[in-house]
Amino acid sequence: MLMIISLDQLPVGESGIVTVIDAHGLTRRRLLDLGLVPGTVVKTIRKSPAGDPIAYLIRGSIVALRVNDSKQISIKPFSEVAINE
């Protein structure tokens, strides 16, 4: 079974690979400019007290994303990748 979750569901300290960016227009463009393209490895670094935004490690930089945006990014967690290989 393939488990794909949205990026906001990726627990702190865990990593995954971006599979789909389901955002459109400027939001999509912005996410792509941050280096979030399918195949990119992302790690959840920490959550703000309210749980939104969440900080991620993306291509060597730490980027905070709003849950509204990170919801639109599909992720295959690394643990799943290992199981399926």
Partner: protein
Amino acid sequence: MSDYLISLAGNPNTGKSTVFNRLTGLKQHTGNWPGKTVLQAWGFYRYQNEQYTLVDLPGTYSLLAHSPEEQVARDFICFGQPDATVVVVDATSLERNLNLVLQVLEITSQVVVCLNLVDEAKRKNIQVNAAKLGDELGVPVVETVARRGIGLKELQEQIHLLVHGKIKTNPLKIHYPPELENKISDLIKQLHYLPESLNKRWVALRLLEGDQSILRGIQEVTRLAFS
């Protein structure tokens, strides 16, 4: 009157302003360019008895104009007709910085990449093969530590060679899927009326993307060209 106009682009926090201040010796003042109200840092330096005007563009991750800063940077590279554009990149996070480099290369071939912060990169055990990077990008890549003035003479030399046509760049061209390339070709044919200074392929790409802001810039530049 300056001999050459050079624009300085780069992501935020790459040491772009340090490069600017080092090259111009802090002889900066702010000014605007025709048709723009956004204040911009300008500075000057002399190299080999020629005067260069350096324009410090706002730090951006992209040139696709979704913020005022990006639009200012893009409009200058596109419509300001600089003789060359220096893109300052952070050697410690090259992957992220190359996005902007590729976007600039899509607009203009007159580019020098300034690979800055190589000392910090070394400290983090990051080795960047500048020569190989230059080969891949098809433009000169100069390693610098701007804070300590290292590499800046070489940067000036490469800019000098580029604006005098002594370096022929061969910028990496991004190929899109056939459907898109066909549309690009169709559009380029219809864009024959644009001034020579505008890169038609790039304009076609923005139009296909539905970028409204580019239309205003084009209207302005064609009006100037025909008036």
